[in-house]
Amino acid sequence: MERILFYLIAAVIIVFSVLTVTSRRILRAAVYLLFVLMATAGFYFMLNYNFLGAVQLTVYSGGIVVLIVFAVLLTAHMDHKLDPPDRLKALAVGLLSLFGMGITLYALRSFPWAVTALPEGAYDIEAIGMRLLSYGDKGYVLPFEVISVLLLAAMVAAIIIAKKSTSND
């Protein structure tokens, strides 16, 4: 059962990944990417990483894809079909991808995978929340507060960039 589900999700990811890079229409590529990200969330749910799955759905398929789609809508010639890449480039990229896949497979093969049992509920939201708010040993309250500074910086930067470009035209 688990195996069938794994291959089903993997098939979805592979098919839509290939469609993402082969689609000549850029907006369609963005939508195919959405399916890839959602299927990835499926893997997280399979691993009982419920929180990470939720993050994947809200931030990646909810936020990043929206950002990509909006960026595409900002381009002047989005109805323009991308030219198919020339043979030599396609060949070079193909070889490079195969090389990368080889290295990854080699690293995965040579890694001594040890099966260990995780304690029950080690990665559920409550455990994450407790760690996030604890200021004692192995607590993450400082990163938690620093994240808000990071988000603040991102917000200010986004406003500055967008305001600048609107005032120009």
Binding site: L8, F45, F51, T58, L74, D79, I125, G129, I159, T166
Partner: protein, 116 residues
């Protein structure tokens, strides 16, 4: 939560969407006229391509949305354990909100929330 839930989710999703299409195909009367085949049955025809460049203002809102989206990710674990941890958790989130509130204040001041 587990594999059964995911399988149930996939099946239910397929049944719901497929069922809605199948039902409307089976139940609806079919009386096709050229007028009904138009893209905008009750509107005016578009002039030129609709694939035009959009205003940059949309992008700003998308960015702000993404930032608050990420913020939610950190608030959810806090909300789950808030009662357990007690007052400390409340103070910690207040600091978090205070810093992010500055961002909102900045956006407000810079008129980034205004549609121009």
């Amino acid at each position: 939560m587990g594999n059964e839930a995911i399988i149930l989710f996939i099946i239910l999703g397929l049944v719901l969407v497929g069922g809605a299409f199948a039902m409307s195909y089976l139940v609806s009367p079919k009386n096709v006229t050229p007028l009904k085949e138009e893209t905008y049955e009750c509107g005016i025809e578009t002039m030129g391509s609709s694939w035009i460049q959009f205003k940059v203002g949309y992008y700003l809102f998308a960015m702000l949305f993404l930032i608050f989206d990420v913020e939610t990710i950190f608030i959810v674990p806090w909300a789950v354990v808030m009662k357990k941890v007690g007052l400390v958790a409340f103070i910690e989130i207040l600091i978090f909100f205070l810093i992010l509130g500055l961002g909102l204040l900045y956006a407000w001041k810079k008129r980034a929330l205004r549609w121009e």
